[in-house]
Point group: C2
Chain length 190, copies 2
């Protein structure tokens, strides 16, 4: 059975995690990466720094739970952004200061671009350059309150993919949860 | 100007954070609390344990950014749940094992109950009791993949409130961000 995707509705999305500090941000960065994977992103780039423990965790989840989520680390963020734009993609910067996704037409404009999307999420205060046109095509806020980049990323992806990302099947999964009203049900391929 | 809310559309929601371990979960629990506040919840309960640093952080955000987000800590989770149900509220447990919010009617059933909602989010593996009828009325998964309770909570709230939570005004705010396509704009009341 052929499974064709409407690419104009399911854009390809990569997450760029800026500002990761090993140990200090270990769990949060892991959560950002796993949320990205679970909510439809194709890959994750840990910019400027290498962190083997994060990579090991994320790749283990991919190995067990399936799919082809790409993990990259160490690349300088400016290089990532420059290459992305050179290849015709757009850059979305998630920030509390950006256009409110609920009250502006920013998401519609992003969808209409029909381009591959690089989403930049920072862990702490980001360089001012992130807001500039040379770097970000769109600055998007999930409400204009300080909260969590993990929460913001999740809501952004869920809205971008219109919930369809939660229906997708992960190829070559060794483990799969069967949803239950009560209790836990897992299928394991050994 | 009178501002009336349709309570059947904007249920009152409290978050119960189970399994918090001081230091280890400091940032993640803070993110969960701030995401809850930013995405429409009325309050947050840190169960079973006290953590002054979390409370200080969350209450500072509320003081600066406005609104009336309640923070409680130390209460045993069983007591919270018991009282909640006794007062006629429902309990939603967010878990990767639950009914998939996208493919089941679970969210609709939750909305139709028209009751106050206690959302339980755990930090690690939760007790089996959380899945039982005595404790949770609904077990809900934001996709059936392992990812982040912060991401799950955010998507759940955004869907529950249908995005309206991102339009709300926070009373008595000392600081307020004015959304921008580029740059940062804040209004501060001193």
């Amino acid at each position: 059975m052929e499974n064709s995707k409407k690419h104009s509705k399911m854009p390809k999305v990569t997450i760029l995690r800026w500002g990761h500090r090993p140990h200090r941000d270990a769990r949060l960065t892991t959560h950002v990466a796993l949320a990205a994977r679970a909510l439809g992103a194709s890959g994750f780039i840990l910019s400027d720094i290498e962190d083997e423990s994060i990579r090991a965790t994320v790749e283990k989840v991919t190995r067990n739970w399936g799919g082809s989520f790409l993990f990259e680390m160490g690349t300088p963020w400016k290089k990532v952004v420059k290459n992305w734009k050179m290849n015709g993609g757009i850059v979305v910067h998630l920030t509390a200061y950006g256009e409110n996704i609920q009250t502006s037409g920013v998401l519609q404009r992003i969808k209409e671009s029909e381009k591959e999307i690089l989403i930049i999420v920072g862990s702490q205060k980001v360089p001012g350059e992130f807001f500039l046109e040379d770097f970000s095509d769109f600055n998007v806020a999930i409400g204009n309150q300080p909260h969590s980049e993990c929460a913001s990323l999740a809501v952004f992806l869920d809205r971008l993919f219109e919930g369809e990302e939660l229906k997708r099947n992960f190829d070559h999964a060794r483990m799969k949860i069967i949803p239950q009203k009560r209790g836990k049900k897992i299928i394991q391929h050994l």
